[in-house]
Amino acid sequence: MGEFKVHRVRFFNYVPSGIRCVAYNNQSNRLAVSRTDGTVEIYNLSANYFQEKFFPGHESRATEALCWAKGQRLFSAGLNGEIIEYDLQALDIKYSMDAFGGPIWSMAASPSGSQLLVGCEDGSVKLFQINPDKIQFERNFDRQKSRILSLSWHPSGTHIAAGSIDYISVFDIKSGSAVHKMLVDRQYMGVSKRKCIIWGVAFLSDGTVISVDSAGKVQFWDSATGTLVKTHLVANADVQSIAVSDQEDSFVVGTAEGTVFHFQLVSVTSNSSEKQWVRTKPFQHHTHDVRTVAHSPTALISGGTDTHLVIRPLMEKVEVKNYDAALRKITFPHRRLISCSKKRQLLLFQFSHHLDLWRLGSTVATGKHGDTLPLSKDADHLLQLKTKVSKMPACLRSAVQIMFSEDSTKLFVASNQGSLHILRLLEGSFKHLHTFQAQSGTVESMCLLAVSPDGNWLAASGTSAGVHVYSVKRLKLHCTVPAYNFPVTALAIAPKTNNLVIAHSDQQIFEYSIPDKQYTEWSRAIQKQGFHHHWLQRDTPITHIGFHPKRPAHILLHDAYMFCIIDKSLPLPNDKTLLYNPLPPTNESDVIRRRTAHAFKISKKYKPLLFMDLLDEGTLVAVERPLDDIIAQLPPPIKKKKFGT
């Protein structure tokens, strides 16, 4: 693997925002997640839970509700009173529209997908018609006394249930009037709360309304008579979210204590048709409030203040017990937040609303393997750049990804219209050189760029189509790497050989020779043999690929939990060999080391690893973000008595 001096950077004080809403789309098996800072992320659950799309947020847009409608259309609503539709191709906001009801607390699309309901601060429920290009206000329902915090459609689309403070209303869609008003008990088990907030409702096709409230209750109501059927007290704190499966045989609730409870409809006895809802398994994967839950056919998805997105597969629904059946906990974005200037030893950190520039510290001391060297010069925080809207050329205004060439003379910009711009940088100004137009028919924006060190080649990849390689010299498309089923997570072009290395979300790595327009021998060999099963079972995508300036056979790459150097000259590991070999002790004889050595050299010393790259031949920089540091910056969780303390 070689010996390196490592800059272990822990001053990147990145704290992801808490998750506010999740919305699962059954058709495309995608999950939309909105965070408290207004960020919306889209995860592709079929592509190894890869975060493939990302809409940056804004301070003024606190999202409170998120829903999919008409298949692929994503809407969000927030406390600024606007309904926003997102353009999933161009990765931009399509339009926003004021609902004129004050802050919006809840939103639900009708089962047919043609109508959209929003619940507002002023107690009004507003119905919107979803047209192909825009949404259109249709009518108001009977106004209620207090804010509408939750909404749910009956699967037939004739009624809705709306949760407010202290009561649940059932509306008839045709007349727009409240059919029933079901009052919720404020007091339960002797605990009296000032108000009982209905955080979530779910309307089942048999007319049952399930409500979750701030008193910790999950209640079942009969909407035909407006009566309470059953109460489950599940928590001492608020129950904040509910999601029902499509089959209506199970649902999930999330509590402010961080617990997620699963309820299932089971038959009372095996030979009777009578069924009852029972609370089955509790899951404690969160430390803070579970603000939102979703129920995919095979998994329970939850997110909350502690910023983790947890995907808990349901074992009974999983066909094969493979690695997909394992619990996933997604904390960090699946993209690079850090870029590094190798020559000047600078690190640029990207936050949601600003950028930080740091100079790495340095040391004069030397030591042996494993030593921690004292710093002679501390790391410097050089500057902080805040977002500022100023006059920008049109092509830069909606850039998805930008990249400098190695010699800093050119800037490559991927715009959200699917085109790529090349700008020449001059002293204090720049000049637009060329625009590579999007391929005919697609408007998909490119979100990953790679430039060859000699500046001749530019590789760009979108979320679904293949990787395009452009010749910067001749300003034309050179070739297209054949499309692969899984999205690209990282791209890089090797120096000298101009081999394009592509990492996909299913952990596959390809090496494509740009001059030869074909996959390299090594890439073919590894595809033929297949990757080690442990390699394929890693659950975070590779976010960065680098190369060793002196050893062309080495490829450096990392994900959140490991750093790997692939030595193409060594034999590939097969399933029998140990993939994660610890570093062999130095006194071991070379023969044994050579016999056990294989191409993948993996180090798990640094985790969670957000960035790692070579500064020069013997120096690495590793940016870590320990989870404890993130938790320390979160608000304190609800205190619970722990037995034995």
Partner: protein
């Protein structure tokens, strides 16, 4: 001689909490296993009503006959299943299975067959089999061929449960739950993770229970979790819920009769009721005293009971209030005090619960009471060194009790305390009089009171390993505030710094013998002067006792190296000695006999001898296979006259001994027989009446009535008024309430009817005779209607007749009252018109 040999019999004290207790269908009786017997207790009075005797080995399971709830099945290690009529204590049938039976289960669906747990080949592989029971009129029958239901199960009956509808049976073992479906004839198995890591390491199943109405299985686990399994008919779609309150393993689980709540218990000695099987709605019954081993629920749903590790059964009402306690002999792991007899109650006294002394009645096989000696909260935590009660002795005819407790951590300092308790006649119990902390510097090895006349000062001697013996006397401890007396040290004796190993007073209290390792020293008890020493150089003296009555001039000593010596105190010389490895030596307080138990290769042997002659009177080889730890002679209330010469020693006292495995055994010259007393039988007949509110008003009198009937001879008994069967009252009760006159009007009449009619004027009787006869017939026919029903319920062959007889008697006696009412009926109907 062979015929005259005394039999070794178990005398109660056997474990009541070995298996779940069973309630009768009407919750009046509680049935539980007790060694080789099954005991029938009344839930209301806590009394043992019957002992079902017949099995020849440990009874391992009892279940009510699902087809007739007045019958009981029991199974035993002797390989038989017996069917009993538990109300009468009659054995109905015996089915021989042939295997050692470990547990018994019945179910209404499985007609004519029961389920038992057996192990066939390997010692650890148990099988649940169904055994068909043939319908034969014969009393003894061979059971049918067992059919395998489930293999590889746990031998404990807690680990097997039948579904409420009888559709399935669930069994747990180690880390898996197996469910066998009778209809599908298929087994599903659900396995929990058993990896070594901290989270799953204690996932072991400990017990299982099935919901009576729904398809729901509750399992208890070693980490204290309770899992509720549902949807287990599909091996993929099964699901479970966790309930977690217990911090130690869940010992037993039971659903209430309707299934609305789940009961669980464990080492915390807290009964937890989970209402609606929900985590947040639970109720507790704490401080039950000892680990809950079993929980049983009455089929009627009104009672439940918990069996505890300290051989106790607590009957608990539905509102979680303990209403009866059935306490057997507490088996402590180490009986350090040995066996003693309380001179007042003749109860056996030994270590009970930790830090307690228990008084156990040998006659009624029941614990009389517990005396808390240590008076500290017992903390149930393994690895904690507890205070142990090591020595106790009674003195001055039960007026004083001395106890010694000690606690020693490894390499820690010894904490020693001696307490002296005075008997208080007012409270009928022992009160702490003197507490002596650190009476000695090392362990106390012996403790004995001087058995002296009442005039003498009570004297206690303690011997210790610190090389001293101390004499304690009762002295005046009064001050200006109160009059009191307390114990103080009077004399400290030692002999060449040897460890004092034992001490003993002669019968008249004039001499004290203290053994110092190999030497026995004799002290004058008036002056505490050393009189003489005996040394045999045959090892440390372990047991020491003076002869009694005619043999009071002899002193017996048994050494560790296996020599039994007898010294003559008059000649100060060794009278005789023999090689005998004595483990227990006990003198009989009522005769000259001394019983010695010696360990030999075939078990333990008993020798009974008189100190005056070196030849034993009676020898019985291998009285039990294990070591005998303690023995005691308990004086008989009425001396028996046993004809046999060899059994003369059993005439005045009975010898009880405790083995290493805590079984209390004795010698009996009688053959085993039914000890059912007639009173208990009668008690039973009366108790089988339904307990309606009116029963409490009227039924009591019926009982007294019965006593009166058969106890007509003893005239001094006060005749109490009888109300039941009195027509006046029955009229009152049968008339609809809306046509009754005001209570004020009826009151005097009612009171009158309760008055006794000693001299019934016969002259007035005659004119109404015909009518009365008719009335009487009607009444009796009504009664007769009811009587067969009762008889059926009780299953008593003679129940009906007895009832009728009693009825007839009551008819006669209440004629006067009846007449009163009839008079009233004829005369006064004006109240009907009165608004």
């Amino acid at each position: 001689m062979e015929a005259a040999a005394a039999r070794v019999v178990r005398c109660g004290g056997s474990e009541l909490s070995l298996r779940r207790a069973v309630f009768s269908a009407d919750s009046r009786y509680l049935l539980c296993v007790s060694g080789d017997f099954v005991k029938v207790y009344s839930t209301a009075t806590e009394e043992c009503v019957h002992v079902l005797q017949g099995h020849r080995d440990l009874v391992t399971g009892i279940q009510l006959n699902p087809n007739n709830h007045l019958q009981l099945y029991s199974c035993s290690f002797d390989g038989t299943i017996k069917l009993w009529d538990y109300l009468d204590g009659i054995l109905i049938k015996t089915f021989t299975v042939g295997h050692k039976l470990h547990a018994l289960f019945t179910h209404a669906r499985a007609e004519d067959s029961v389920f038992v747990t057996i192990n066939k080949e390997k010692p650890d592989v148990f099988q649940l089999v169904s055994v068909p029971l043939p319908r034969t009129p014969r009393q003894d029958a061979e059971a049918g061929e067992p059919r395998l239901v489930l293999d590889c199960i746990s031998p404990s009956p807690k680990c097997v449960a039948f579904g409420g509808q009888g559709d399935y049976v669930a069994a747990v073992r180690d880390f898996y739950l197996s469910v066998y479906f009778f209809r599908k004839k298929a087994t599903s198995r659900f396995t929990l993770s058993s990896s070594e890591n901290r989270k799953h390491a204690k996932n072991n199943f400990t017990c299982v229970a099935c919901h009576p109405k729904e398809d729901c299985i509750a399992t208890g686990h070693k980490d204290g979790k309770i899992r509720l399994w549902r949807g287990f008919d599909d091996e993929r779609k099964y699901t479970y819920t966790c309930l977690h309150w217990h911090h130690d393993l869940v010992m037993d689980l039971a659903f209430s009769a309707t299934g609305s709540s789940l009961l669980s218990g464990g080492r915390e000695s807290v009964l937890v009721e989970w209402r609606d099987a929900a985590e947040k709605t639970k109720e507790f019954l704490p401080r039950l005293g000892a680990t809950i081993e079993h929980i049983a629920v009455a089929p009627a749903g009104d009672l439940l009971c918990t069996s505890h590790a300290d051989n106790k059964i607590i009957v608990i009402g539905r509102n979680l209030e303990a209403c009866a306690v059935i306490q057997g002999l507490v088996r402590d792991s180490s009986v350090l005090t040995g066996l003693m007899v309380d001179p007042r109650t003749k109860a056996l006294v030994l270590n009970g619960k930790p830090g307690h002394l228990q008084f156990y009645s040998l006659q009624s096989d029941k614990q009389l009471y517990n005396l808390d000696i240590v008076q500290q909260e017992y903390i149930n935590d393994c690895g904690l060194v507890q205070i142990e009660l090591t020595k106790a002795a009674f003195g001055c005819f039960g007026a004083w009790l001395a106890t010694v407790e000690q606690r020693q951590e490894k390499e820690g300092e010894l904490e020693l305390q001696m307490k002296l308790w005075a008997y208080n006649k007012k409270t009928q119990g022992f009160l702490l009089n003197t507490k002596v902390s650190a009476p000695h510097e090392d362990r106390v090895t012996a403790l004995c009171f001087r058995s002296a006349d009442k005039s003498d000062v009570p004297t206690l001697v303690t011997a210790s390993r610190d090389g001293r013996f101390k004499v304690w006397v009762l002295a005046d401890d009064s001050d200006i505030y109160r009059k009191a007396e307390g114990w103080t040290c009077d004399f400290v004796g030692s002999y060449h710094k040897y460890q004092a190993t034992n001490c003993c007073f002669s019968e008249d209290g004039s001499l004290l013998a203290v053994s110092f390792e190999e030497t026995v020293t004799i002290w004058e008890s008036d002056t505490w002067e050393l009189r003489c020493t005996f040394c045999q150089r045959a090892g440390r003296v372990r047991h020491l006792c003076f002869g009694r009555l005619t043999c009071s001039k002899y002193l017996l000593g048994a050494t560790e190296s296996g020599t039994l010596c007898c010294w003559n105190l008059l000649s100060c010389a060794l009278e005789w000695s023999t090689k005998l490895g004595v483990s227990v030596m006990e003198p009989d307080p009522r005769s000259e006999h001394v019983a010695a138990v010696a360990r030999s290769s075939g078990g333990s042997d008993l020798f009974v001898f008189k100190p005056s002659e070196p030849r034993p009177l009676y020898v019985q080889r291998s009285i039990c296979s294990e070591e005998v730890r303690w023995g005691v002679f308990v004086p008989r209330d009425v001396p028996e006259a046993l004809a046999s010469e060899a059994l003369q020693w059993l005439n005045r006292s009975q010898f009880y001994f405790l083995t290493a495995s805590q079984s209390l055994l004795t010698f009996s010259s009688k053959s085993p027989e039914e000890k059912l007393t007639p009173t208990s039988k009668q008690l039973l007949a009366e108790e089988s009446l339904p307990a309606t509110p009116f029963y409490f008003l009227l039924g009591r009198h019926r009982q007294q009535r019965g006593e009166q009937a058969d106890g007509a001879a003893d005239g001094e008994r006060v005749q109490l008024p009888t109300t039941e069967g009195v027509p006046a009252v029955s009229e009152l009760l049968h008339t609809p309430a809306h046509v009754l006159p005001s209570a004020a009007f009826l009151c005097s009449l009612f009171i009158n009817s309760l008055l006794l009619a000693t001299e019934a004027p016969s002259a007035e009787e005659t004119p109404e005779d015909a009518e009365m006869e008719e009335e009487g017939e009607r009444d009796s026919s009504e009664e007769e209607d009811a009587a067969p029903e009762q008889a059926q319920q009780a299953g008593l062959p003679d129940g009906g007749d007895g009832g009728d007889e009693a009825e007839a008697l009551q008819q006669q006696l209440s004629k006067c009252a009846e007449k009163e009412l009839r008079k009233l009926r004829r005369v006064d109907y004006s109240w009907v018109a009165v608004p």
